[in-house]
Symmetry: none
Subunit: 197 residues, 4 copies
């Protein structure tokens, strides 16, 4: 681990999985030391505090999610196709999570209901990014005639995100990926029935 930049990323990556699975309070520095193979000094040389590391780890996790979305949206100009692709990306989370522990936005939001407002803010911002992606996709879809002109993009965003995140949550709770897939399928039907122009 000669390259300090590489070490830093290594820490962030391992911490992201731990924080996502166990939450900020539940993941201890001892856990992170074990996961990274570093001692305390090696970690505190890169981050001023556990919280600073948690924030970077959360951003990293959100970026992993974003990369997934970017990958499935690649080369899809059609709005409905794009929204379907987002649903498909969610359907895959339980079986192939971008970060261990599932969706970081939901996890961070629920686990930091109380306390740790910094992470909560980050979760809100990230979630709003996803909702904005959906909203703008809808808007462009309307402009392109692929989406009914009377469709409210904000509502579509809420319906989609709620259903998909809820499906992931059920899959995690039951340890059964079907729920996320059923939720994604429902979103597909919803898009065909109520959104498509």
């Amino acid at each position: 681990m000669r390259d300090p930049e590489r070490t830093r990323e290594h820490i962030v990556r391992q911490a992201a999985g731990l924080f996502n699975r166990r939450g900020f309070a539940g993941a201890s520095l001892a856990d992170i030391m074990a996961a990274t193979g570093l001692q305390k000094g090696g970690i505190y040389g890169h981050f001023r505090s556990k919280e600073e590391l948690a924030l970077e780890a959360f951003d990293f996790a959100v970026r992993q999610m974003g990369d997934r979305f970017a990958a499935v949206l690649e080369g899809k100009p059609n709005a409905i196709d794009r929204l379907r692709a987002i649903a498909g990306a969610f359907a895959e989370i339980p079986e192939n999570p971008p970060v261990p522990g599932g969706c970081p936005m939901m996890n961070a939001g629920v686990e930091n209901d109380d306390g740790n407002p910094a992470i909560r803010d980050r979760a809100r911002t990230a979630m709003e990014g996803l909702r904005t992606l959906i909203r703008q996709t809808v808007r462009k879809g309307i402009a392109r005639g692929e989406v009914r002109p009377d469709v409210d993009g904000d509502r579509v965003a809420t319906v989609m995100v709620a259903t998909l995140e809820g499906g992931v949550m059920l899959s995690q709770l039951y340890g059964d990926p079907r729920h996320a897939r059923v939720a994604a399928e429902h979103v597909g039907e919803y898009l065909d029935g109520s959104v498509r122009g």
Copy 2:
């Protein structure tokens, strides 16, 4: 606080809110002491451990949820009406939570992703109770001709619960009750469009 039974319930009620908001690890005995006005001895006289208290608190929270459902289902024989009532109950959670912190099943499920399998099991069982309620409502609705005969009750349960829980999650994350209401409205349209016979 002469009556020990009352004290016990008082502890459980306060603890339910704390555990629901902060999670099992996040809610300390000091928090519970502060919320109940009791000292450690007074709490450990009623419960053998923090976990035993957490389990009872979780059961209490689930019961509070169940009471909500029972209240809105009261006197509604029609299946679609009943499913709508469930959606309506979820829509109200952010503004008027049966237990502070929102839906205990989702919270416990997400926060105990790792660790504390006992609470996780309880969360699964409670969630399955809700899904069973929906499934059986669908089945009776088919028998009564209120629901299309080809509707899969299990899928309806997953779609409804995913959407509604996801809506509650969004409302909590944003501090805005609209998301839960939008999710509930979507469920209503889904019921009218795809379930109603």
Copy 3:
């Protein structure tokens, strides 16, 4: 347990075994509650504190030891016979302890090396009672011509008690009653060889 006197003795008896085996700090009130079948109030109605109970329990234990000595000394006027009888009583302790846990004087003395001077004082007094018994037996034996006139009773007491208590300690440590018997046999030879007149 109608008779309060009987209850009190019941507590003392059970506590004596617990304190003798686990020491003052090691035996908790919860242990005593479990052993006696009484609740806290039932115990504190008879004793003002754990220490007061411990002192009475220790006295009880010493009395049990004393009863053993009295029994084996009964009808033995000869000094050497009496001293042998004391050795025999010690030899039996590991297999048939008068109080669970062995000799309370040794236990209390060793376990209260530091702290709890009250129990330590009682242990000293009790031990001195035993040494006085030996010393006076020697003295009478000299007067009766059964013991050499130049024998120092105090030294006999120390040698006998040291050897016998040490034998009991070894038997307890190893869980093997032979050591106490060997020690008692040695005392017998010592009496025959160096004390008998």
Copy 4:
């Protein structure tokens, strides 16, 4: 206290005295903190638990005892001289204890009558080491014609250890070193009268 090895030994040494005087349960971490001048973090960095520290402290205490024996046995080939030297070492314990609190084998054996089997096992092993030393000294003494050929080394070991440990116990109980000395003198007479060839 720069050198961690030195710190560790410092902790062990101080803890050995505390555990030997107060027992495993009786010596609290607060006591050890006070005796060592370290905080909890400083102690738990060297030992994983109180029990691990107690085991090392016990081993240290036994080593201190062993050093005493080794010192007095130095340059003494004759078996009777060696056995006398062991008795002499015991006679000195009350006035000049190798570890504060007296003989760790006896203390640990008596105080862990119940509970803490690990320390009890160590005490047994250490005591058996002492008995073996005596047994083998007797055996060699027989071979060298210094000890009667019919002497049973195991019985000698039990008699000597019982008497000497008992003497130390009496000295501790009374706070008077004479008992240990009398016991050692008795052992000397026993060796001359019953063991010497």
